[in-house]
């Protein structure tokens, strides 16, 4: 059981090391110093005006909220799906009550306009 995850640990280490090696190789080959203007922020050749790190649209936050509700549901849905064949009709109905509660929440978010992009 844990041995399987050792494999994933090995993968993780390789996944971290590989980009570092590639960038190290490139740092040997590439020219070191670029022209001064290349270090400016890119904006079609103009100087950038004003602050970039500003408060952003609240729409994104609404989507994130609804997303969290559904994402937690998937965590419950997968174990249920695995055992679905052996569980009786009761578990089937119970799961749909669970989904129905979520759908009511989804319907409320829809009605309140959380899913509208404006």
């Amino acid at each position: 059981m844990l041995q399987q995850y050792a494999g994933i640990g090995a993968m993780l280490i390789i996944a971290i090391v590989f980009p570092i090696i590639v960038i190290a190789i490139s740092s040997i080959v590439r020219p070191k110093k670029a022209a001064k203007y290349k270090y400016e922020t890119y904006e079609c050749g103009l100087e950038t005006q004003g602050e970039t790190w500003v408060q952003f649209k609240t729409n994104y936050f609404m989507y994130a909220l609804v997303f969290v509700a559904f994402d937690v549901e998937t965590v419950f849905l997968y174990p249920w799906a695995v055992k679905f064949m052996s569980l009786g009709t009761f578990a089937f109905i119970e799961m749909f009550i669970f989904i129905a509660i979520l759908v009511i929440g989804f319907w409320y978010a829809w009605k309140e306009g959380a899913l509208e992009w404006n």
Binding site: G7, M11, V29, R30, Y39, E40, C44, T52, Y63, Y78
Partner: protein
């Protein structure tokens, strides 16, 4: 009919040699996993080389032009020279960026792209670690790529990057739910999240037949997850330059690009495993002496060609349409699919088929 699998033979030979040397079982497992990972990495890099060329050629074909045709016959060496060029390019980190966030994003995008290959069954007995939560692992790991996009967009301190990063997060978060829900139906039919069990369940009927709706949902949501095709809002070249990639150059940009193609291969591999029968041969063609990994790669490339076809045929979708479609069409449809699958299975059990 026993097909001879070259890679499995090699792995067995290596295992026997390690046992002969006298290594402990744990060490053997880890060494095998490291070799498997290196194999997967080579697979990813080769695929990226081929896919970049294939994409440019496919785009050229759809738009009735030549595409790359200078280096080698029909331009087959184009991507090799491109990668050499990227390797020797200046690595520009603009003055205004948040240096740590900017740098780490390029490494971070690559980690989930490689990690998902741990659970992909490339062929019979060719899986790096056959976790009992296989498909759930894929879903969990693949979704962390969102973080790297947000870091790249925010850290660049560039308005285009920020807009691109935000769009990318909104889109990936929205389409993740239908993607995950569409896979639930397959898990219900199999009764396991183990990839080998899912493949084994499809020896007779591929799950694309009983789960066609789920396949469609997966296909559409897959485009959005990959920021490709009609859903490439985050990178919309004509409006926000290149989205989160705007400030990246040289090898860092190449890492983003590599991760993008690795993700394409991963999503197509999962589609193959879940819906197209994995490494099983096409029903009726099992007698052919074709190794299982060849079947797998053939199916993956079929899926990739489908992805390219949609990418170059459809115009870009507007962001509000995109969000509407994700939340108001795909999520209800995928929920209905779960319901219908459940009812279908119950009817089958009652009838005693």
């Amino acid at each position: 009919m026993e097909n001879i699998n070259l890679f499995v033979l090699l792995a067995n030979w290596l295992r026997q040699w390690l046992e002969g040397v006298g290594a402990s079982p744990d060490v053997i497992e880890v060494v095998m996993d490291v070799f498997g990972t290196v194999g997967a990495l080579v697979f990813i890099l080769l695929n990226a080389l081929i896919l970049v060329l294939l994409e440019r050629k496919a785009a050229a074909f759809f738009q009735q032009r030549y595409g790359p045709n200078r280096w080698g016959p029909k331009g087959v060496f184009q991507t090799i020279f491109d990668s050499l060029k990227l390797l020797s390019k200046e690595d520009i980190i603009p003055k205004a960026v948040d240096k740590w966030v900017f740098k780490i994003a390029a490494y971070l995008i690559f980690i989930p792209a490689i990690l998902v290959f741990a659970v992909i069954p490339f062929g019979e007995g060719m899986i790096i670690s056959d976790l009992n939560i296989g498909i759930f692992y894929f879903v969990a790991v693949a979704s962390t790529a969102t973080l790297a996009f947000l870091m790249a967009g925010w850290g660049s301190n560039n308005k285009y990057s920020l807009i691109g990063g935000m769009r990318s997060v909104a889109q990936m978060v929205s389409y993740e739910i239908p993607l995950v829900f569409s896979l639930v139906g397959v898990v219900m039919l199999t009764g396991s999240m183990k990839m080998s069990a899912i493949v084994a369940a499809q020896t007779k009927v591929w799950f694309i037949l009983p789960q066609f709706l789920a396949f469609l949902v997966y296909f559409i949501a897959g485009h959005a997850e990959l920021n490709r095709g009609p859903f490439d809002m985050p990178e919309g070249e004509q409006e926000i330059v290149a989205g989160p990639y705007t400030e990246y150059s040289g090898m860092r940009w190449a890492l983003f690009f590599l991760a993008e193609y690795a993700n394409l291969v991963a999503v197509c591999s999962i589609a193959t495993t879940m819906f197209l029968g994995g490494w099983n041969p096409i029903p009726g063609l099992g007698f052919l002496p074709i190794p299982t990994y060849v079947w797998f790669v053939l199916k993956v490339y079929f899926m990739i060609m489908l992805f390219m076809w949609t990418r170059w045929t459809f115009p870009r979708v507007r962001i509000d349409h995109l969000m509407h479609f994700g939340w108001k069409v795909l999520i209800p449809v995928s929920l209905v699919n779960i319901l219908v699958t459940g009812i279908g299975i119950k009817i089958y059990q009652w009838m005693g088929w």
